[in-house]
């Protein structure tokens, strides 16, 4: 799925317009606890998967951006229409992270994306 399709299908707001690239993504991971995101996504052996992964979260703090940056995940999607503060948007721009938000809840957007063929990340026990 292209990011532009995600934006138009689910009426996403783009907070980092200057960074926007029409990336293709195939995977998504949901977490509000960033330690979970770090553990699961760090267990992925194939780096190309993370490049095609978006992080779906309700966490509107700097930490969702920092976590995405650490993991080489390029896109953070905020749920439930949450509005990030300017400092979070600034950090996203500085960290080259595309920051989006949707009015859908985490469960609903996950289900919709799954129907669209987007798949989750599985913990790879090392």
């Amino acid at each position: 799925m292209k990011l532009s399709e995600l934006v138009s299908l689910y009426d996403c707001k783009v907070y980092t317009k200057d960074l926007f690239q029409d990336l293709e993504f195939k995977y998504a991971f949901c977490a509000d606890l960033m330690s979970d995101a770090l553990m699961i996504l760090n267990s992925v052996q194939d780096d190309t998967i993370l490049k095609e992964t978006i992080l779906i979260t309700g966490l509107t703090t700097n930490q969702s951006i920092r976590t995405a940056e650490m993991l080489d995940v390029r896109v953070v999607l905020l749920v439930r229409g949450k509005i990030p503060s300017l400092k979070v948007v600034d950090l996203a721009i500085e960290s080259n992270i595309i920051l989006l938000s949707t009015e859908h809840t985490m469960f609903n957007i996950s289900g919709l994306l799954y129907e669209d063929g987007i798949r989750g990340i599985t913990y790879n026990h090392l």
Binding site: L33, M34, S35, L38, T61, N62, Q63, M70
Partner: protein, 138 residues
Amino acid sequence: MIQKEYQIIAKNYDLAGRASSDIKRTLVALDFPKSLIKRVCAASYEAEINTVIHSFGGYATFFLDDEKIVLEFYDDGPGIHDLDLAMTEGYSTATELDHKNGFGAGMGLPNIKRSSDHLEIHSSIDGTHLIIIFFLES
């Protein structure tokens, strides 16, 4: 050889991750393998967040030479009460405020251990000192 030092402020979630972000940018600029950068960043970020949420504040150092990368985290206490419990996946003493900021899943130290080649923890009520080493392949 590169050496850097970063201040870490307790309970400051806005700045939490700044040191790890700089370490990542340093390693990316030096063209290290992505898999190594990912491991270093995961350990560094978890240790930095641990210092922010659990300690009275401290600092981190980054050291790089031809053989290894060494991250060290020093804080001013109150120390890890039970190290075995702290190394248990899922165990956490984090507060509601920490959870609201996305942390406290109880995966910090286990993630650091998993990501690194060597982890040494010295802890007392006066503070905790973490030594995290990654050996570079020649």
